[in-house]
């Protein structure tokens, strides 16, 4: 299986403070890779470098090589990168005043798609893929994104990201604000989505990482301490620091 994301010597800064100290990682296509580590370890910064979100913060910059589907993301306009790389955040952030339909269609419209039939098809397909279609199909234009429950809002955001057909989906704590049932739906969804794209998920919940991801990377103080198959990381990690973290001996 080829790599969907290849990261070489990635460094990131906030002003003069170096937050990532040369990360190397290969993310396998059509698999989920979890990124774990204590607060402030650089895991969110890392994923935000994968779609060039990091550089939107004033004074922040990144250096190194990130290839997504073979494309050097720092050699093309950021907007092109974000077409290939979708992102879902901890707190669901649907466009509050837009209808459910318009939320999902927003990315396509922004890219210039105006054909009604195409939009209808993409909205339905994206909501189906996000396992939200059955719950909202009769409310598409009647209700706003903000009127849905937290779990539904998060799946709406996933549908919105899916609408532009990304190759990679970045998820930054996508279920940490959700109840267990909504969390289970998101986790089931990750399994479905892996067939079509590649997922990189940041999570504080190690059970979640072990449930959804085939590979896990442990970050500590801006370094990737260990990267291996998830079952190895959670049953018999090679690095003492990984073991101490996942067994709760520090953090």
């Amino acid at each position: 299986m080829p790599n969907a994301v290849e990261v070489r010597n990635l460094k990131a800064w906030f002003g003069k403070a170096e937050a990532l100290h040369g990360i190397n990682m290969a993310v396998e296509q059509n698999h989920a890779t979890a990124v774990i580590g204590p607060s402030g370890c650089g895991k969110s910064t890392f994923v935000r470098c994968l779609n060039r979100m990091h550089e939107t913060i004033p004074e922040a910059k990144a250096d190194g090589e990130v290839k997504i589907g073979g494309m050097d993301i720092y050699g093309v306009p950021a907007v092109e990168v974000r077409r290939k790389v979708g992102m879902v955040f901890q707190k669901p952030n649907p466009f509050p005043t837009m209808s459910i339909y318009d939320n999902v269609a927003a990315g396509l419209k922004l890219n210039g798609t105006r054909n009604r039939k195409t939009l209808d098809e993409v909205v339905e397909r994206s909501l189906q893929q996000a396992a939200l279609w059955e719950e909202v199909k009769d409310l598409l234009k009647k209700k706003s994104g903000a009127s849905l429950s937290g779990g539904q809002q998060q799946r709406l955001c996933i549908a919105r990201a899916l609408a532009v057909n990304p190759e990679v989906m970045l998820m930054d704590e996508p279920a940490s604000a959700l109840d267990p049932i909504s969390t289970a739906k998101i986790e089931d969804l990750i399994f479905e989505l892996k067939q079509k794209l590649t997922i990189v998920i940041v999570t504080h919940n190690m059970q979640q990482a072990s449930r959804v991801a085939e590979y896990t990377g442990f970050f500590l103080m801006g370094n990737l301490v260990e990267f291996d198959k998830t079952e190895k990381i959670f049953t018999n990690p090679s690095d003492k620091r990984t073991e101490d973290y996942i067994t709760g001996r520090f953090g």
Partner: protein, 225 residues
């Protein structure tokens, strides 16, 4: 995120299984002593203590399952709890072997003492050391000591085979000693089983400490550990 309470509970689990280990170890000692001294009262104590070992097994299992369910342990902690659950079953079986030995001794005492071609105390001494070392390796998390337990099992197997050969011959040639030879054969076999449980415990310690599964390949793998 340090999980102080959880780690205190793991210590508590360790104490509980060590208390049970003490009971199982004592049962074997008592049964072997009863053999040497032909003491029926000692045998009775072994039989009476069995229910306490069985109760301890259930309590350790329940505690371990609670920790798995409530604490979602990871890595070395997960391996520790899995090892404890397996060691627990082995210790309960050690208790059963002690009962088997005691029952055979009770049967033997019904007959006059006979000279038999087997050194049960010598074999028991080896087995006892294996059990002790397996438990010591568990107490100290010492995989090297556990590895030495695996190596010691070959010697006990050899002693058991020798006992089988000599006692079988005795049964064929000395009809007046056949019943007692059969009892001694069973005792040797039960001691050999105790050694196997000590080996299992040692394998579980290696799994806990090193994350390596050495079951069924102990001879080949032990040298590489």
């Amino acid at each position: 995120m340090t999980r102080t309470r959880f780690h205190q509970e793991l210590e508590e689990l360790k104490h509980r299984i060590l208390a049970m280990a003490g009971m199982a170890e004592q049962a074997v000692d008592l049964a072997v002593q009863a053999y040497s001294q032909r003491d029926i009262a000692m045998c009775q104590r072994v039989l009476n203590n069995e229910s306490a070992i069985n109760r301890a097994e259930r309590e350790v299992d329940e505690f371990a399952v609670d920790l798995l369910a409530m604490q979602q342990p990871m890595a070395i902690d997960l391996r520790f709890i899995l090892a404890v659950i397996k060691i627990n079953a082995d210790l309960e079986r050690v208790g059963d072997q002690a009962v088997n030995i005691a029952q055979r001794v009770i049967h033997m005492i019904e007959y006059d003492a006979k000279e038999l071609p087997v050194d049960i105390p010598a074999m028991a001494g080896k087995v006892r050391k294996m059990v002790r070392d397996a438990l010591q390796s568990f107490i100290e998390g010492d995989a090297d000591l556990a590895k030495r337990v695996l190596e010691a099992d070959d010697e006990v197997d050899r002693m058991n085979k020798e006992a089988f050969a000599n006692l079988s011959k005795c049964m064929q040639t000395r009809s007046d000693s056949a019943a007692q030879a059969l009892d001694a054969l069973s005792i040797a076999r039960n001691l050999e089983r105790v050694a196997d449980h000590a080996t299992n415990i040692a394998e579980d310690v290696i799994f806990w400490i090193r994350g390596a599964d050495v079951r069924h390949h102990a001879g080949q793998t032990a040298s590489r550990l």
